[in-house]
C-alpha cells in the first residue's frame, strides 16, 4: 500500500510537529503560572525537553515498553510451531523483510496487536484466548491484518502516537495542578499588566482542557481508515476474507476485556477492547459489525473486491488508486479443515513454561503447578494430600 506508507510518514511528521507546538505552548503557560512572570521560556524548554525524552524513549525502546505494559512474553518457535508457521506465511505474503517476532499474552480474551518502529524489528502479540478459540483460517486472518499494519508502517505511527499522547497527558496534568495549588492568584495578575496575564490565564485554561482532547482526536481520527486497509490486505494475503470476518465476530463476542488493555495499548488491539460505543470522534476502530459486513460482501479476495464491497456498503473510497492498479484479481480459496493451532492444554503448558511454573503430575490424576521460586522443597497435592518434591529450576 504505497499511499498508506507515504501518508503514515507524513502523519508521523505532522504529529511530531503538532506535538512540539502543543507541548511548547503548554510548557510556556505552565511556566508563567508556576514560576511567575518570565517563567514562560523555562516552561517552554521544559515542554520541549519532555518531548525530547519521549522521542528518545520511542527510538530506543518503543516496542519493548508497549509489549511489557501488555504483559507479553516472547514465544519460541518450538513453543508453538503452528502459530509461527502462520506468522511466517503472512509475512511472506506481505513481503516483509523478515517475519515479526511472536509474543504471547496470557489472557482469556481473544485479541492481538502488532508493534515495531520498522518492519525489520516488528513483533506480533496474540493472547492465549485467541490461540484457543480461533481455527487456523481465522488466526491467519488476524495475523494477516497485523502483518498489514507492520507493512504499511501503521504500527510505527501508532507506537509514536502512543508515546507522544502519554507526554501531553502528563504535562496538562502538571498544568492543572500548578493552576489549582500553585502559581499566582487571579487578583494579583490582574492588578499588574492585567490584560497580558489574563490572556495567559485563559490560554492556560483552554490548553489544559483542549490539549489532551486535540491530541486524542488527531490520534484517533487518523487510525480508523487504516483498519479498513489492514482488513483489505488481510483478505488479500489469506485469499479468504471469511477467516478474518469470523475471527472478528468471535473477538467481539468475547465476554471479558483483555487485562492488558490500557489507554495507551487499547487502540493497538485488532478490536479495541476499551471502545464502548462504536461511533464518534474517539473511536479508534470502525464498528466491528461494519468491518465484518464489508469482508463478507467481497466477491473475490483482491483489493478491488474489497474496494467494491466498501463502496457498496459504506460509500466512498478507501484504497488508493496506485495500490488498486498494482494489485491483481484474486479468487477466494476454499476453507481449510484445520482447527485451532493449539488445544487448551497445550496453551496452558506454554503459559506455565513462560510463567515459571513447575508442573507436578500426581498419581491421583491431578497436576499441580507450583509457581517459581517456591519457598519450600515439598508441596502437597491439593487434591489427595500426597507430598511431592519440588525440583528447583
Amino acid at each position: 500500500m504505497w499511499e498508506q506508507i507515504r501518508s503514515n510518514r507524513w502523519r508521523s511528521n505532522v504529529l511530531v510537529a503538532a506535538m512540539a507546538a502543543v507541548l511548547a505552548s503548554l510548557g510556556y503557560v505552565a511556566g508563567e503560572w508556576a514560576l511567575g512572570g518570565g517563567g514562560g521560556p523555562v516552561g517552554l524548554l521544559f515542554g520541549l525537553a519532555v518531548l525530547g525524552v519521549q522521542l528518545a524513549v520511542y527510538a530506543t525502546a518503543g516496542e519493548a515498553i508497549v509489549l511489557r505494559s501488555a504483559g507479553a512474553r516472547p514465544l519460541a518457535r518450538e513453543d508453538s510451531p503452528r502459530l509461527w508457521n502462520v506468522v511466517e506465511e503472512m509475512a511472506i505474503a506481505a513481503g516483509l523483510p523478515r517475519p515479526p517476532r511472536v509474543y504471547l499474552i496470557d489472557d482469556p480474551a481473544p485479541n492481538a496487536f502488532a508493534v515495531g518502529r520498522r518492519p525489520e524489528e516488528a513483533a506480533i502479540a496474540v493472547t492465549t484466548g485467541l490461540m484457543i478459540r480461533l481455527n487456523r483460517d481465522e488466526l491467519q486472518g488476524v495475523v494477516g491484518h497485523e502483518v498489514a499494519h507492520i507493512g504499511n508502517r501503521d504500527v510505527q505511527f501508532m507506537t509514536l502516537a502512543a508515546v507522544l499522547l502519554g507526554s501531553v497527558v502528563i504535562l496538562s496534568d502538571v498544568l492543572w495542578r500548578s493552576m489549582r495549588y500553585g502559581g499566582r492568584s487571579w487578583r494579583r495578575s490582574r492588578s499588574r499588566d492585567g490584560t497580558g496575564h489574563a490572556i495567559v490565564a485563559v490560554a492556560a485554561l483552554v490548553l489544559a482542557v483542549l490539549a489532551p482532547l486535540l491530541v486524542r482526536i488527531l490520534y484517533f481520527a487518523t487510525s480508523r481508515r487504516r483498519e479498513y486497509l489492514a482488513d483489505a490486505s488481510a483478505a488479500q494475503f489469506t485469499r479468504y476474507p471469511e477467516g478474518l470476518a469470523s475471527a472478528l465476530e468471535k473477538i467481539a463476542q468475547a465476554p471479558a476485556r483483555p487485562v492488558a488493555a490500557n489507554a495507551v495499548t487499547a487502540s493497538m488491539f485488532i478490536v479495541n477492547p476499551l471502545q464502548a460505543g462504536d461511533r464518534g470522534l474517539f473511536a479508534t476502530h470502525p464498528p466491528t459489525s461494519e468491518r465484518i459486513r464489508i469482508l463478507r460482501g467481497m466477491a473475490g479476495a483482491g483489493l478491488a473486491d474489497y474496494e467494491a464491497a466498501y463502496r457498496r456498503l459504506r460509500g466512498g473510497r478507501v484504497i488508493g488508486p496506485r495500490s488498486l492498479a498494482s494489485a491483481g484479481a484474486l479468487r477466494i480459496r476454499p476453507p481449510s479443515e484445520e482447527g485451532p493451532v493449539a488445544t487448551r492444554a497445550q496453551v496452558r503448558e506454554i503459559v506455565h513454561r513462560l510463567g515459571d511454573y513447575r508442573t507436578i503430575r500426581c498419581p491421583c490424576g491431578a497436576t499441580v503447578s507450583v509457581p517459581q521460586p517456591y519457598e519450600r522443597e515439598e508441596v502437597r497435592c491439593i487434591r489427595c494430600g500426597a507430598v511431592h518434591r519440588v525440583v528447583r529450576g
Binding site: 504483559g71 496470557d106 489472557d107 482469556p108 484466548g129 465476554p255 471479558a256 476485556r257 487485562v259 487448551r344 492444554a345 496452558r348 503459559v351 506455565h352 510463567g355 511454573y357 491421583c364 490424576g365 491431578a366 497436576t367 499441580v368 503447578s369 507450583v370 509457581p371 508441596v379 502437597r380 497435592c381 491439593i382 487434591r383 489427595c384 494430600g385
Partner: protein
C-alpha cells in the same frame, strides 16, 4: 500472568484435574476460577439453572465496593450472594474468588457444579 491470592498476596498453586483449572491458595484455602474455567465446570454440572455458582454469575452485587481485588486486573471485586453462598466476582468478568470458608461451605452441599468442584479438589462427602 502470575495469579496472586487477593487475601494473602502469595502466589496461588494451580490445580488441574480432568481439564478443570482452579487456582488455590495454600495459606487460606481460597480458590480463584477464571470465567472460562467456571464455564467449563458448569458445563459438566447436571442442573445448571438451579446451580448457586451459575446464579452467582448473573446475581446482582449486594456490596459493589468489595475490598478484594481481582487477581487478574486489580479491579475491586463485587460481592454477590447466590442462595446462601457469598462470592466475589470481578466486575470486568475475569472470574470469581471463593474464600476458604465459603469454599468449604459450598463443598459440604455437593450439588451440580459444586459436586464437580468437590471431585476436582478431592473432597468427597462432608468434611469438617
Amino acid at each position: 500472568m502470575k495469579v496472586v491470592c487477593p487475601r494473602c498476596d502469595t502466589r496461588l498453586l494451580l490445580l488441574v484435574f480432568r481439564d478443570v483449572e482452579v487456582d488455590v491458595c495454600e495459606r487460606c484455602g481460597g480458590a480463584w476460577m477464571d470465567t472460562a474455567e467456571l464455564q467449563a465446570l458448569l458445563s459438566r454440572a447436571t442442573m445448571p439453572d438451579a446451580d448457586p455458582l451459575m446464579r452467582s454469575l448473573s446475581a446482582t452485587a449486594h456490596r459493589p465496593d468489595g475490598a478484594v481485588l481481582c487477581p487478574r486486573c486489580d479491579a475491586g471485586m463485587v460481592e454477590v450472594c447466590a442462595g446462601d453462598l457469598r462470592i466475589d466476582r470481578c466486575p470486568e468478568g475475569h472470574g470469581v474468588w471463593l474464600d476458604g470458608g465459603e469454599l468449604d461451605h459450598l463443598l459440604r452441599q455437593p450439588v451440580g457444579a459444586a459436586s464437580v468442584l468437590a471431585e476436582v479438589l478431592g473432597r468427597h462427602g462432608a468434611q469438617g
